[in-house]
Symmetry: C2
Subunit: 139 residues, 2 copies
């Protein structure tokens, strides 16, 4: 997903492009995911979608996130033992993770090079490399 000025209509169009019927709830969730560069959990998304009044259910948030994941609109970040975070930036990149505050920051993939990895286990095909640089507030 790209970070551009997102009107409800442009988001609907983008969903259609990817073969997703743009319902009210799906548009709201997509808007929340795109509204800024962040890495929200399902809970945060639910809360953000329902700031004004409850219009979307927990089940729909989970259903929609799984749908978006499936259609490649969103990426899961497994970084915290307690919850999954969602990343609307689907281009290849990596993350800083502040183990104290839980804050996540993007690392652009351009320039990052990993050398010397051994060959994959027999019969395996690559499905992505995650680099997580864990950090802590300085001494």
């Amino acid at each position: 997903m790209n970070l551009e000025p997102s009107t409800r209509e442009s988001v609907a169009e983008m969903l259609r492009t990817r073969g997703i019927t743009p319902t009210h709830q799906r548009i709201e969730i997509a808007l929340v995911l795109l509204e800024k560069r962040w890495h929200p959990s399902a809970d945060q998304i639910l809360a953000a979608v329902n700031v004004r009044c409850a219009e979307t259910s927990k089940a729909t948030v989970y259903n929609t996130l799984k749908l978006f994941l499936d259609k490649g609109l969103v990426r899961e970040l497994i970084v915290d033992p307690n919850k999954v975070f969602y990343d609307s930036n689907t281009s290849v990149h990596h993350h800083f993770y502040d183990v104290v505050s839980g804050e996540i920051t993007d690392i652009a993939a351009a320039g990052v090079r990993v050398d010397g990895l051994p060959p994959l286990p027999a019969g395996m095909v690559p499905a992505g490399i995650d680099i997580i640089v864990r950090t802590r507030p300085g001494l």
Copy 2:
């Protein structure tokens, strides 16, 4: 933790070295963690410790894992959305993760080089780099 022929006594000694009073349960759990090169979840550890008869409780397994983690005997692997895995190999290394079977394989750190990472966010200090190479059974 090191992978050596582990008698109950040698494990007890090792725990003492790290300032951990070696109780029956803690020794059993350490033995399970060391018995082979694997990356068990808390559940698997509980099961393994209790193969013969139930001698250790869930609470103790979680308490002990947290204690071991604290004392640097064990490392957490955050790789699966559903459960934490524990790694008795505390030397710096990385992992293959088969997203289908869930199998985890070590990648020796020797030879792996990461270049071009941006500077850490202001005021942050490094707390470790995790590289997870996700794989899938071939086409």
